[in-house]
């Protein structure tokens, strides 16, 4: 039953995770700007604080004090609602993501996730699929042709790549036999020959690549950032947005990146497992963060390296290449599962 103890534990967990997530988002933005700087042979923002570490704080303050502009012809209710619809599901997904095994603090055994749902994987997909409405609505309600184009593109893109994304995960579900994210991670705990970890990336590399590509497309990042393609659409769906409303889209995008990275870690890279985790459970979250950091680095690296797809290329790649390969992968993995088990 619901006792005050559990309620306090929940509230503390939610508070801590929310704080860490928001800080992580702020510093991923800084990391991106600095890394992009280095990739492009310049320094990036390094003036505010040591190594520019206080830059996110300055950016946040600036967002707060900027004038909030609503276009005259915009649909005001939906225009205000859109950034909220984009942000809320993006932040909610973190609630079902486990970032470690149980640890003991002050004599209490605490599981390192906000809540455990037996269909956690589906909850993540459900919430991420709702995020598109924020972008679509922002595009429609701004009453600007660039925004509308961005919104349209994003809905088409998200529907197309969601199929490949879901199909690439089917293989993982076949192996783990569960939709619970904790179970999915625990299934990858043991070793082959004593030293190769049983991560899903080794048994289904094709599935991993499809997941990675589709996840980048789902988060609207380069080379799939057509919804905001700044060279042709000004800034796409958020052209008309300013101040904190723009910041909300920005936070939502980076929260989605963190979610996609943690999903890739949980599903294919063994989650929080690594050397000595069994003896020191506190190492779990550290390994988990390092693995997430790797994917975030990959995101930024891709942005610094690749040009953007053309729209027809994007659609052809999604429907005619990614989805058939994902389907074939499901059959392949199902056969593999029969052989192994």
């Amino acid at each position: 039953m619901l006792t005050t103890d559990i309620l306090i534990e929940w509230l503390v967990k939610i508070g801590v995770v929310f704080f860490i997530l928001m800080t992580a988002i702020a510093y991923v933005v800084l990391l991106e700007r600095r890394l992009l700087g280095f990739i492009q042979m310049r320094l990036g923002p390094n003036r505010v604080g040591p190594f520019g570490l206080l830059q996110p704080l300055a950016d946040g303050l600036k967002f707060l004090f900027k004038e909030d502009i609503v276009p005259l012809e915009a649909d005001k209710a939906l225009y205000v609602l859109a950034p909220m619809i984009a942000l809320v599901p993006a932040l909610m997904t973190i609630s079902v993501i486990p970032f470690g095994d149980k640890i003991v603090i002050l004599g209490r055994e605490i599981a390192l996730h906000i809540t455990s749902v037996n269909v956690g994987l589906l909850v993540v997909f459900a919430l991420t699929s709702l995020g598109v409405y924020g972008i679509a609505l922002a595009g429609w309600s701004s009453n600007s042709k660039y925004s509308l184009m961005g919104g349209l593109r994003s809905s088409a893109q998200l529907i197309s790549y969601e199929l490949a994304l879901s199909l690439s995960v089917v293989g993982v579900i076949i192996f783990s036999g569960s939709l619970d994210l904790v179970e999915v991670v625990k299934q990858q705990n043991s070793f082959w020959l004593g030293f190769i970890p049983k991560w899903n990336i080794f048994t289904q590399p094709i599935g991993f690549l499809i997941f990675l590509i589709a996840a980048i497309a789902e988060t609207n990042r380069v080379p799939f950032d057509l919804p905001e393609a700044e060279t042709e659409l000004v800034a796409g769906f958020h052209t008309e947005y300013s101040s904190m409303k723009f910041a909300m889209f920005f936070i939502a995008e980076y929260a989605n990146m963190v979610t996609a990275s943690s999903m890739a870690t949980l599903l294919f890279l063994g989650g929080w497992y690594g050397p000595f985790v069994d003896k020191f459970p506190l190492l779990g979250p550290i390994y988990f963060s390092l693995k997430i950091l790797f994917f975030l680095f990959l995101y930024i690296w891709l942005r610094g390296t690749l040009p953007r797809f053309r729209y027809d290329q994007l659609m052809r790649f999604g429907w005619k290449f990614l989805i058939p390969v994902a389907l074939a992968n499901v059959v392949l993995v199902a056969g593999l599962a029969l052989l192994i088990y």
């Binding site: 939906l78 037996n118 997909f125 919430l127 699929s129 709702l130 679509a136």
Partner: protein
């Protein structure tokens, strides 16, 4: 506790459903429908059917309604173009609505809410067991139905490529012929 929760969810879903038909703007209707699906998903969760709730959101709110919204945005119809004389439609809508309510009333009159309680039917295990044993035939028939729909839509959306190419070739020939004629004319001039 459960009852209070149900009343909140039920009244919210009825309000959303009313809003779907009452809105003049199609996009607002579509979003009311998404809200309705959200309320239904919460109702499923209170019935311990987490899988159904998740699928409800993924399939209806996350996929089908995105297509609806996409089409509405693509057509970009504004309110002024949608003025229909609603009073004329009342002749049909009132009797039909009354009939529907009557059917629902008689259908549910002898239904006891306690029948739902007992073993959970909405977990992934229970649904999987059901789909691949007791309800295998309806499940397969439904999938064939969906397959037919997919084939149908592909046929409808397919462009008549062969015809297009012939047309282009014809045009090219015409251009060539006219070029040849032109050069002939020029030759004769010289």
């Amino acid at each position: 506790m459960e009852k209070v929760f149900f009343i909140i969810i039920a009244s919210l879903s009825v309000a959303a459903a009313l809003s779907v038909v009452a809105q003049r703007n199609t996009l607002y209707s579509a979003f009311s429908l998404i809200g309705l699906f959200g309320c239904l998903a919460v109702a499923y969760i209170t019935l311990q059917a987490h899988l159904i709730a998740a699928i409800q959101v993924i399939v209806y709110a996350g996929a089908i309604m995105v297509l609806f919204v996409f089409v509405i945005m693509l057509l970009n119809i504004r309110e002024e173009e949608l003025r229909v004389d609603r009073n004329r439609l009342l002749i049909f809508s009132v009797p039909l609505g009354g009939l529907l309510f009557g059917l629902i009333y008689f259908g549910l009159k002898n239904f006891k809410i306690d029948e739902i309680k007992g073993a959970p039917v909405g977990t992934s295990e229970a649904i999987g067991q059901g789909l691949f044993s007791k309800y295998l035939l309806p499940f397969e028939v439904t999938s064939i139905l969906i397959l037919l729909a997919i084939v149908g839509s592909v046929v409808l959306a397919r462009r008549e490529k062969d015809g297009d190419i012939e047309d282009i070739e014809d045009d090219e020939q015409v251009v060539k012929v006219s070029m040849a004629e032109k050069s002939k004319v020029e030759e004769t001039k010289e």
